[in-house]
Symmetry: C2
Subunit: 254 residues, 2 copies
C-alpha cells in the first residue's frame, strides 16, 4: 500500500509521524530556479543540518530517486507557502502555486535516525511524552551560499552517558539524515543559555544523570530561507513530511 | 627492521611508546594453564577492558598470529613477576621463570586507538604534556569468571564536545583495542569522586570547555589478577609492551 495515495487524494491531511514505519520521510523546500544553485550549494556546504536527498529538474514535480510516482504538488498532507519571507497560505496541495521554474529539494529528517535509536533500545523522552523535540538556535554559523545564511539550529535529546555514546555510534552511520551529533553536554559552549526554553518545539526535562545531546536540525535551512526572504518559497508544514519509497536501512552506511 | 630484535638482545629495556609507529602493541599476561580457561572467559565476558588479541598454547612462547618469530620470554623490554599477588621481580627476560604449563595472553592496548585519534587531528593532553593517562577505579563491576573479578578501570582523556563525538566515531571502529568510550561527562555516575586524583597515572587538567571521556582500560585485567592472587603471574611492566607485526589499520573495522 502506497501511503502517498490517500494523502494525494486528500484523505489524510495530518502529520506523517508513525505513517509508513521504516520508510524515509523528508523535508521539502521548493524555490524558484534562480535561487536553486545557491540553495543546493548551501546544502552541500552544510551537510549535517541540510542533508540533501534529491533535487528536481526545474518545473518537474517528480522525485524519481525517492519514488517513481511522487508528485510533490499533491503528495504531502500540508504545505506552507511564503512570499517575501511571510507565511501566506497552508494548503493541502500546491497545484495552484506550481510554476515551470520551480525546483524542489528533499532533505533528510531526524525521523530516520530516531527510528534507528529506538530499534537499538534507546528511549527518547520527547517520543515517550508525546512532545515535539526541543530545538535551539546556536551561536554556530552555517557556511553561507548566495542569500542563504544564518545560525545552525540543533535538536536536543537527553541521554545517559553510555546511551549517548551508543547514539553517536548509531547515528554516525546515517550521514544522509543529520548523522552523528554536533555537540554534547555543554550547551553554553554553542550559545544555548537556557535548555528549558527551546526556540522551537517543546521543553524536555534533562535529568541529573543525563547529558543533553545535540544533533544538527532540519530547521536550519528553514531559518536560512526566512532570512533570505525569497519572493516565493514552499515547504512542508511542520511534521507533514514527504514519505519516500526509501527504507531507513538503505541510508545506513557500512 | 624488526623492533623486537634489539629488545630480545637486551639492547632496549625502556618503554615502547613511540617505537615501531603504526604497529599494534599489546599488554601481556602469563598464567598457569589451570587458570587459563577462566581468564580467557573473563576476557570474553569483558571485551571492552580486556580485548583479547591472541592466546598461546600451554608451554609455547610463540604468538604466530601476532608475529612469526615472537618469543614472549624475551621480546618485551621488561616484565613483572607476581607470586600469590605479590610483585617479586622486574626482569628483562623471563626464560628463568618459564614452565611447560604457562599460557600467555596478548590484550589490546590504547596506544592503537590513540594513534588513530592523533591521526584525525585530535590532541591528547597527556601526550602533549608527556604524562601518563589518568586512570580510575569505577563503581562498575566486571562480569566475573572463576577467581577473576573486580572493578572496571577506565582511562580518561579530556576533549571538547565536538572532538569527543569524533573520538567516539573513530574508536568505535577499533573494538579490539577497547573500542568506543564507556562513559562521558558525568564521572560521579560511575563512582569517580575526584577527577584530579586518579588511582593510576598522572592527573590531567579538564578545562571548562571540555568533557572527561572515559575508555575501558587494560589495567582492569591487572586489577582482577591482583584480586585473584594466582600462585604465579607474569605481565609486561607498565609501558613496556609487546610490539606485534599487526598494523593498527588492520584492527579498524569497515
Amino acid at each position: 500500500m502506497n501511503p502517498r495515495v490517500p494523502i494525494r487524494r486528500g484523505e489524510h491531511a495530518g502529520p506523517t509521524a508513525g505513517l509508513a514505519p521504516g520508510r524515509v520521510q523528508a523535508n521539502l523546500v521548493v524555490l524558484p530556479a534562480a535561487l536553486a544553485p545557491d540553495f543546493s550549494r548551501f546544502c552541500a556546504l552544510n551537510p549535517k543540518p541540510c542533508p540533501l536527498l534529491a533535487e528536481t529538474q526545474p518545473g518537474d514535480p517528480g522525485f524519481p530517486a525517492l519514488g517513481a510516482d511522487i508528485d510533490v504538488r499533491t503528495d504531502l498532507p500540508r504545505y506552507r507557502v511564503f512570499r517575501d519571507g511571510e507565511l501566506v497560505d497552508e494548503p493541502t496541495d500546491i497545484r495552484g502555486y506550481w510554476r515551470d521554474d520551480l525546483v524542489a529539494f528533499a532533505i533528510g529528517c531526524s525521523f530516520s535516525f530516531e527510528q534507528a535509536l529506538l530499534e537499538a533500545g534507546i528511549r527518547l523522552r520527547h517520543v515517550d511524552t508525546g512532545k515535539n523535540v526541543s530545538m535551539y538556535r546556536t551561536s554556530v554559523d552555517t557556511l553561507p551560499a548566495g542569500p542563504f545564511h544564518g545560525p545552525l539550529v540543533v535538536s536536543m535529546r537527553p541521554l545517559r552517558p553510555a546511551e549517548a555514546i551508543r547514539a553517536v555510534e548509531i547515528t554516525a552511520r546515517y550521514p544522509r539524515v543529520h548523522g552523528a551529533p554536533v555537540h554534547i553536554g555543554l550547551p553554553e559552549a554553542i550559545g544555548i543559555r537556557d535548555l528549558a526554553r527551546p526556540d522551537w518545539g517543546d521543553p524536555t526535562e534533562v535529568r541529573s544523570d543525563e547529558l543533553p545531546v545535540f544533533w544538527a536540525c532540519g530547521v536550519t535551512p528553514q531559518a536560512a530561507i526566512a532570512l533570505a526572504k525569497p519572493a516565493l518559497c514552499i515547504t512542508h508544514a511542520p511534521g507533514h513530511m514527504l514519505i519516500t519509497d526509501l527504507a531507513n536501512s538503505q541510508l545506513a552506511q557500512h
